[in-house]
């Protein structure tokens, strides 16, 4: 059983809870399996043809017995259900203070973008003890981000953001798998999550020395010509983007949406889908011109635009609020 200990070890905030429930279920189901099997064997032996057993009476129905083994499982199932949804809600509810990291999946690799601009492929470095929120999308087919040691998994879809969060509680390297079949090299779409002590992580993070994600977005914003219309000096009638993030946006069809990551992504790639009220539908699409990583950088930039500039913004603390 070489290597099993390392694999079994849970390394996230919810791993112990999941394991506790799993092994409680193993005990409960093991008991039921054993009880039924033993009964089957005992009856088979005792009532085998030719045995000297009492076979009197009609034993082909009994309402009380039927109701007992209908209601007892029903109550047990409701108990298991209640236990599991409590834990499920914990897994699914995003904490407010999590570090935001972006993941773009493609056949057959994981691309990671940190808020401070560092990028990784098939690796994710994070500090121990801090909650992490992954905002994920796919460039092609459906993938699934699975870290067995954290006991979590979330499908990653094209044209859509999904999110997951976890708090790593042990340092070390943990397997990362793609769990949704995605084509030829699905089995090679593996990576590792490296959980580091805060000091070691700080050293690793400083070694990068690149522009932050928002700064990369700002460069793209100029390069792609977005600033020509959305900039302060623009003559074109286009919405001002400062302070837009997280605010409600009235649309030309009378409805209102929240300007979250999903809305910004759609507005960049499919601008005619949801046109802001009072503005002409003149923005060109950037679909097939920029990839998901550029969209994420642009979103990070737009998010960083504050109508009342804060003197000391920390790009690493920024959070994207895409609704589930």
């Amino acid at each position: 059983m070489i290597g099993f200990d390392r694999l079994m070890t849970g390394a996230s905030n919810i791993a112990d809870d999941v394991d506790a429930m799993f092994f409680a279920m193993v005990a409960l189901c093991g008991f039921v399996l054993l009880a039924v099997t033993v009964t089957l064997v005992l009856f088979s032996v005792r009532y085998r043809r030719g045995s000297q057993a009492d076979r009197s009476g009609d034993h082909s129905r009994h309402l009380g017995v039927e109701l007992t083994w209908t209601l007892v499982p029903a109550v047990l199932f409701i108990g298991i259900f209640a236990w599991s949804i409590g834990l499920f809600a914990k897994i699914q509810t995003m904490p407010k203070e999590a570090t935001s990291i972006y993941v773009v999946a493609k056949q057959w690799m994981w691309k990671v973008q940190h808020a401070d601009g560092r990028r990784e492929v098939n690796q994710l470095h994070i500090p121990v003890g801090k909650p992490v929120r992954l905002t994920m999308t796919s460039q092609d087919v459906i993938h699934s981000f699975f870290v067995p040691a954290f006991r979590i998994k979330q499908d990653v879809l094209p044209n859509r953001y999904t999110q997951m969060w976890f708090k790593p509680e042990k340092t070390g390297e943990f397997r990362l798998y793609c769990a949704e079949f995605c084509g030829t090299d699905h089995a090679l779409m593996r990576g590792r999550v490296v959980v580091m002590e805060p000091a070691a992580y700080a050293l690793w993070a400083d070694a990068a020395g690149t522009d932050s994600l928002a700064q990369q977005g700002e460069a793209l914003f100029r390069q792609l010509g977005c600033s020509g219309c959305h900039g302060p000096a623009a003559t074109v009638h286009a919405p001002d983007l400062a302070g837009l993030y997280g605010k409600p946006v009235p649309l030309s069809d009378g409805s209102t949406v929240t300007a979250d990551a999903r809305y910004l992504r759609d507005s960049i790639l499919l601008p005619s889908k949801q046109v802001a009220a009072g503005y002409p539908d003149i923005m060109p699409t950037f679909q097939n011109q920029i990839d998901e990583e550029d969209v994420i950088a642009l979103t990070a930039y737009i998010q960083s635009l504050d109508p009342n500039p804060n003197p000391d913004p920390d790009p690493r603390q920024e959070i994207v609020d895409a609704p589930r």
Partner: protein
């Protein structure tokens, strides 16, 4: 060769290829199905052998990555649509349903033959896909991979499955009409054998769910060939829509596979226990509850798909609800043994094997219905092990039990009992040896559909592959001794098990129109008496002593 005292059997009546390929006799059509699905079982089995050979070691060294993906796709598609779904309904149901109801045939004999031809045509497309190089989408055809990204022959296999769906629909329609209109005088609904009830429930699921699959497959074709955006987001579609449609069919499809298995076991156990089945009415309510509630649990395949948390919670609750009637059935089978007079011929061994394996399959299903555990376990080998316990440990064991139980009825021959018992026991152990380690692999985090895997999973996979070798041997044995018995087996009396169903009241094999006189029914099924069985056994022992 008819017995002197019995009418010409349906096997002897007219002979020659034409008489078989144009037959309207439900029993002959059942045999046509048996031959076809047996062939497909070994095609799907060969793919399983390739898969387990590849997975015997962590490196991807036997097949290429694409070759492996094609192997598990063939395995899934063939086993689900060309073996499991038609197995018990189209073979045993076809042959037995009219006999059990006291009817001369199914309600629509020509439609019945048409169903077989549709099955065969669908099969030809699937084999054509294989010959053309296979498909690599998995049996689940998840979009947008299947529509825009896969370079394999997806369309051929989709057409094959589309066609075979109509075979299911027509069979379901035929069974429902037959059960409603062709029951013998006195055969009230609550006098029907449970096997007939499961055929009824299964048929309902077939005609209500299969059209959704057909439509979904058409939509895949439209998107793949004409670029109509339905599932692919770059064309404005929604990939999750596909999953909803697919599982709306494919979860009920699990009950198409397992309800008939429950029906078979409910016939075998009372016969070899010589006792009425425990809780006949509760068994019927459970069958119907499974068929109905089974339609509302599909979202439990999608807890981590991006579906909303609240949808996940509702589907989780309904999944626990559908587990209750299954639990009732297991307890009732067990209770049937109480104060019985039990003998352990091969069909009974298969039936007992079914109860144990189905129970473990059902219990592990509770893990997956529990949302928080499913997040970790879904798409791992835990799921693979779970559904194999239901579909192979459950449905295939029951199918084998049914084949053995009714073999003398259909062929008029007896098979070698010792070989049959040996195969049943070997299958049980081979199966557990193959799939128990996969539960552990899944909990440890090994994802499914991996051509190569990390070395720490090596030991358990080697066990599993070893078990698969045992299991494959066990599946080959019946092919050998049952074929042998067709030619050299002893002639069977009309009712070798002293069973109570109407199908046993006519000769074995039955005449073309089943009964010389329409039977009249004046009591419930399973009129067995354990004390009488004991007295007869004692008398027999004294006579031989």
């Amino acid at each position: 060769m008819p017995h002197a005292d019995s009418p010409a059997s349906f096997l002897d009546a007219p002979t020659g290829f034409r008489s078989w390929l144009l037959t309207h006799d439900h029993k002959r059509i059942g045999i046509l199905y048996a031959i076809a699905i047996t062939a497909f079982f070994f095609v799907g089995g060969a793919a399983a052998v390739l898969i387990r050979t590849e997975l015997a070691t962590p490196q991807g060294d036997v097949l290429t990555a694409d070759g492996y993906n094609e192997a598990f796709t063939v395995h899934g598609v063939v086993m689900v649509w060309f073996f499991l779904i038609p197995s018990i309904p189209s073979v045993l149901g076809n042959i037995l349903l009219p006999l059990m109801l006291g009817a001369r045939d199914l309600a629509f004999p020509r439609l019945n033959l048409a169903s077989w031809y549709l099955y065969a045509l669908g099969g030809i497309f699937t084999i054509a896909c294989l010959i053309a190089g296979g498909a690599d989408t998995g049996w689940t055809f998840y979009t947008p991979f299947s529509t825009l990204f896969s370079n394999s022959n997806v369309l051929l296999v989709v057409v094959g499955v589309f066609i075979v769906g109509f075979s299911s629909i027509l069979t379901g329609l035929n069974f429902i009409v037959t059960i409603h209109s062709l029951r013998a005088p006195g055969m009230h609904w609550f006098r029907m054998p449970l096997f007939a009830w499961t055929m009824y429930a299964t048929s309902l699921v077939m005609i209500l769910a299969t059209p959704v699959l057909s439509m979904t497959l058409v939509l895949i074709g439209l998107e793949r060939v004409f670029g109509v955006g339905i599932f692919d987001p770059s064309l404005g579609g929604d990939p999750l829509l596909f999953q909803h449609l697919f599982w709306f069919y494919s979860h009920p499809a699990v009950y198409i596979m397992v309800l008939p298995a429950m029906g078979v076991v409910s016939e075998i156990i009372p016969c070899f226990v010589r006792k009425r089945i425990f809780g006949y009415r509760f068994m019927i309510y459970s069958i119907m509850a499974i068929a109905i509630v089974g339609f509302f649990v599909w979202g439990h395949h999608m807890f981590v798909s991006g579906q909303s948390m609240y949808a996940g919670i509702v589907f989780s609750l309904l999944s626990f609800v559908v587990a209750i009637p299954s639990a009732i059935k297991v307890f009732n089978w067990t209770a049937t043994l109480y104060k019985g007079s039990i003998s352990f011929e091969a069909p009974m061994l298969y039936a007992l094997g079914f109860v144990g394996l189905f129970l473990l399959g059902g219990l592990t299903g509770l893990f997956l219905a529990a949302t928080a555990l499913d997040v970790h376990l879904t798409d791992t080998y835990f799921v693979v092990a779970h559904f194999h316990y239901i579909m192979v440990g459950g449905a295939v064991m029951a199918y084998m039990g049914g084949i053995h139980f009714w073999w003398p009825k259909v062929t008029g021959r007896l098979y070698p009992e010792a070989w049959a018992r040996f195969a049943a026991i070997l299958m049980f152990f081979g199966f557990n040896f193959t799939f128990l380690p996969q539960f552990v692999l899944g909990f440890l985090g090994m994802p499914r559909r991996y051509h190569a895997y990390d070395p720490e999973f090596g030991l358990l996979n080697a066990f599993s592959s070893g078990g698969a070798a045992v299991l494959a041997t066990a599946y080959l044995l019946p092919l050998g001794y049952l074929s042998w018995s067709l030619f050299y087996g002893a002639r069977s009396p009309a009712n070798p098990w002293a069973a109570s169903g109407l199908e046993w009241q006519t000769s074995s094999p039955p005449p073309t129109h089943n009964f010389l006189e329409t039977p009249r029914v004046d009591g419930g099924p399973y009129e067995y008496s354990p004390s009488q069985a004991e007295a007869e056994a004692e008398a027999e022992a004294e006579a031989s002593a």
